[in-house]
């Protein structure tokens, strides 16, 4: 079991109720996850967040029946749906990532939030094991959607180092979620 001390983990699922056609569940879902989706969208593309969030929630209503509590927590599923839409929108528009404020983000240990869901707790633990520059590259890649060359350009790190950090970082988090030691791949 994951030792996560958070009431957030105890949230009754709402997506199944949406899939069942319960109208009130839509408002409840928006109240519960609106902030999360908005925050992810604002970070991913601050110039496009309003329209993107609307599309994300429409996707969510449509895909609510796909949610399986045995495979992922509801917040993690919502985040996955949101990210897919955000990535698709950016690709279809050919937009480059925009960093709000123009500054490279750093993710300090005390900024990690393990309380939303089990996956976040496991990710936070895995991120805490990474060096600051590895963590920064992973966040720029996974959360801001920056390409490796864009990250190399912005951070001054060699491209090969950026690729290695992004790859190993995501593999570390994935291994933490799978509950296995990190697999090494060539």
């Amino acid at each position: 079991m994951v030792p996560v001390a958070s009431s957030a983990l105890a949230s009754p699922p709402v997506l199944a109720r949406i899939a069942a056609g319960e109208p009130e569940a839509i408002r409840e879902c928006l109240a519960r996850y609106g902030g999360l989706v908005w925050s992810i969208a604002r970070r991913f593309d601050p110039l496009d967040a309003e329209d993107a969030v609307q599309e994300v929630f429409l996707d969510l209503w449509k895909s609510a029946a796909r949610f399986d509590a045995r495979l992922a927590s509801e917040p993690a599923f919502v985040a996955m749906v949101a990210r897919r839409r955000l990535i698709d929108r950016r690709r279809s528009r050919g937009r480059r990532p925009t960093l709000e404020g123009g500054e490279l983000p750093s993710v300090a240990d005390d900024a990690l939030d393990p309380h939303t869901c089990a996956e976040a707790a496991q990710a936070a633990r895995a991120l805490a094991q990474l060096r600051p520059e590895q963590r920064q590259v992973l966040v720029l890649s996974a959360c801001h959607g920056m390409s490796h060359s864009e990250i190399a350009e912005r951070t001054g790190l060699p491209l090969g180092t950026v690729k290695a950090h992004a790859r190993r970082g995501l593999l570390s988090v994935r291994s933490a979620l799978l509950g296995v030691q990190q697999e090494e791949h060539p």
């Binding site: 839509i26 928006l30 996955m80 990710a123 994935r174």
Partner: protein, 293 residues
């Protein structure tokens, strides 16, 4: 027969899955991932989502945006405008997490295995009722599509049924559920063991029942379930999780398959180090159960 490409072991598939989870794929790359058989693996997407959730600075959804979404969804905004307030992505304190409607009963699942071991080729596994000895190569299993450890929080008003009760419920609810008796191998731990495995393919839910299986010391070793799927390469059985047997030798445990099992070929229980393994040496197969061919 050429084994299917395994997404977790193919560097190109991993590269494409990482790209999909971060910056997205071009149509050509998406087609390539599909052709390599890796498109169904969502574990990297989930990992990236988990990083996002764990690191994103939280902001509240502006009310005007929320109202616009509700209008688009055809829902009537709440009187007075603002939505019920909760922290973004955070549930009300004290609420209990429960399963989605139609999901399996909240019994204690088999624990996920923790440790990885080196790949070891080996052969000869008992195949239960048919008593067929088959040489089975062993290699790293496919990456689960999406696997996370579950956090069980008791419901506030209802006591989750025991695994035995859930097993009975499953048998009552799914007439097509299979009940397969265990066949003990020559391993000492399985000598005299009886019982069965109940499996519902439709619900992807099942239960193991043992009588007379040797008690184990979890500090020394644990039992681990493997599910062989006829639609998958036999070298890559689905990890069914680990479990323990108490002093009385009787136990009913829920199966927690890490992947969807399309068509069961064999259930097999091995003895493994504490926490289970990713790759079994299959040195100690204790019992097996297989559908009649």
């Amino acid at each position: 027969m050429t084994p299917p490409r395994q997404p977790a072991a193919d560097p190109r598939v991993i590269e494409l899955l990482i790209l999909r989870a971060t910056t997205g794929l071009t149509p050509a790359e998406a087609a390539e991932l599909e052709s390599l058989g890796g498109a169904g693996d969502e574990s990297f997407d989930l990992a990236a989502a988990a990083v996002d959730v764990a690191t994103v600075p939280r902001q509240e959804l502006p009310d005007e945006v929320a109202q616009r979404i509700l209008r688009a969804a055809g829902a009537r905004p709440a009187p007075g405008g603002p939505l019920p307030v909760t922290l973004p992505g955070v549930a009300p304190p004290g609420a209990a997490r429960s399963r989605a409607a139609g999901g399996p009963a909240p019994v204690t699942p088999l624990a996920p295995r923790r440790r990885a071991r080196p790949v070891i080729a080996w052969s000869v596994a008992a195949f239960g009722l048919a008593a067929a000895a088959a040489a089975l190569l062993w290699a790293p299993r496919a990456a689960p599509r999406v696997i996370v450890e579950r956090v069980e929080v008791p419901a506030p008003l209802a006591t989750p049924p025991s695994a035995a009760a859930a097993r009975a419920d499953l048998l009552a609810a799914d007439a097509a559920a299979q009940t397969l008796p265990w066949t003990a191998t020559a391993d000492p731990a399985g000598q005299g063991a009886t019982g069965d495995v109940v499996w519902s393919a439709a619900r992807q839910e099942g239960y193991l029942r043992f009588v007379g299986l040797a008690p184990n010391d979890p500090k020394l070793h644990q039992y681990q379930l493997w599910i062989f799927d006829k639609t998958r390469d036999e070298r890559y059985p689905v990890d069914g999780g680990v479990f323990d047997v108490g002093a009385d030798g009787e136990v009913v445990v829920a199966i927690a398959p890490k992947l969807r099992v399309a068509e069961v070929a064999l259930f097999a229980v091995t003895v493994e180090p504490p926490g289970g393994v990713v790759v079994s040496t299959r040195e100690r197969i204790v019992v097996t159960a297989a559908p009649a061919s």
